[in-house]
């Protein structure tokens, strides 16, 4: 089946599409509104989060810019950003688009989407920081809630302007 054929949605898929999209938007807003302490709660306890340079993905190399294998590691990242690290002062803006559900199982979903991140400095100047693709395994919990089981952010912008502090 070609990509184009696979993309035709059933009416029953629309609710699920809506639920997934709302989830991804909420994640983006959490980062944009500087609610970093809430960010780990989008993930399952056992999870993977990694920001993978596209050049490593192409070469089959595993190294991520930033990664975590547990929710605890995500919390440590937040704690360090809040209390230890020095980084460029800015407002981030995450734009999520092209949301596609690639596989739908009773307990999980495979979802891809595009992400664009802009940064605005303290003088109000905005620059494009990063474009990339989310590759997600979303776990469907009892009651219908979604949690991220695995999120790999493959970044096209792997020549990172200055540094990457706030997660994508």
């Amino acid at each position: 089946m070609s990509l184009a054929e696979a993309a035709a949605p059933l009416e029953s898929d629309l609710l699920l599409q809506h639920q997934v999209t709302q989830f991804l938007y909420a994640y983006a807003r959490c980062l944009d509104e500087d609610r970093l302490e809430d960010w780990p709660t989008f993930f399952d306890d056992a999870c993977f989060y990694g920001i993978l340079p596209r050049e490593n993905a192409v070469k089959g190399l595993p190294l991520c810019v930033l990664s975590a294998r547990t929710q605890g590691m995500l919390k440590d990242r937040v704690k360090s950003l809040r209390e230890a690290n020095i980084y460029n002062l800015h407002y981030p803006r995450h734009v999520v688009s092209n949301v596609e559900i690639l596989a739908c199982r009773s307990d999980s979903l495979d979802v891809v989407s595009n992400v664009t991140v802009y940064q605005t400095d303290m003088e109000g100047r905005t620059t494009l920081f990063c474009v990339g693709q989310y590759n997600d395994r979303l776990n469907r919990k009892d009651g219908g809630a979604l949690k991220i089981g695995s999120r790999t952010v493959t970044i096209d912008t792997y020549n990172i302007p200055n540094l990457l502090a706030i997660p994508i």
Partner: protein, 422 residues
Amino acid sequence: MNAIADIDWPSSDFTRVPYRVFVDPEIYKLEQERIFRGPIWAYLGLEAEVPNPGDYKTTFVGDTPMVLQRTMDGELAAFENRCAHRGAIVRREPFGNDTEHRCVYHQWCYDLKGALTGVPFRRGVQGKGGYPKDFDLSKHPMRPMRVATYNGVIFGTFSDATPPLKTFLGTSICAYLDRLFHKPVKVLGYLRQDIKSNWKLYTENVKDPYHAGLLHLFHATFGLYRSTQKGAVLMSESKFNSVLYNIGGNYDKDLAEENYKNQKKYVPTDYDLYDPQLLASRPDFPDGIANMIMCIAPTVVVQQIMNTMATRNIRPKGPGQFELFWTYFGFADDDEELTQIRLTQANLIGPSGYISMEDSEATEMVQDNAVVRSTGDTVIEMGGRGEIHDLDYLISEMPIRGFWSHYAKLMAEPPALQEAAE
């Protein structure tokens, strides 16, 4: 006053550095000629990146595009990535494998050492066109570099005046390269940072043990590094290259708190990680060294921080910009668990590194001000003035002065020495 080239060095012991050297386009141009294309050994890559005949990697020496090549007979070669015809980039891929190099513009063809082997329509078509009869292919190679390796690390030089590689590296640097590259390595991935500051501000940063325990608070907080810890600074005989290291886990908490008590930023309590796996380590070396930062000026930093190992290739892109290209590696015989430890600890370093993200922010902050006002000088007196020598402590900026002393010499070299390579 000590005028070298057209840089006025205010002090002969390099305790003052004019801000101008970070912003002046003329100085930048002179550096490309006298330093990067001058008598230095420039980092090109690791042998593990080009293991097979025909493998190549594209890279930069200064801002000059280069090809690093494994030839069919297993030798290493390097040459400028620039067609001898009209100057086009010949190899555009970051890595590849091929039996020849062919410029897309007019199909000039080169062998794996960069020698020109063929040009289309050399004799013209039906008696018309073609190159002059005396046109000599051997006169038009892609500009080659001399290549030498040390324990699997590949260096190249354009100049005939460059001392032998081991002499250039220096005794201490060789000793710590022997330590790190004691067995074959494998690449785990690459990271890149586009940093809007002069490349030398980063060189200073990696020769500056004074900042490590003050700017990088994650480091200090978890006892990975405190300025009160045992460590040392070693330099090459030229003072251009340096090794900074500290021993992990031996810090005295009371001493640390006493010394840090006036540092408002430092909170003298040990954080507990939610997930201590981040710092779970399987030491690769028996000497207890937790951090080792080596700078082989002007092109590469080689680091070991706990189980992380990487080279950081400095690629200038103009006076106010450079790319920092990280090659992260483990040992070829690492088991699955050790590879996982290295991948997890990669969170410590790189553009998102818990103990490295601050560095580019710091250099950009200095650059922003140097652009606005390039008069005046920086002050480099921590650890004393005068003679530049090795240290058995870390509260110092002395290796920065060492770098500048050799930089000044290179910048003052008459270009005649380098003409042979042009």
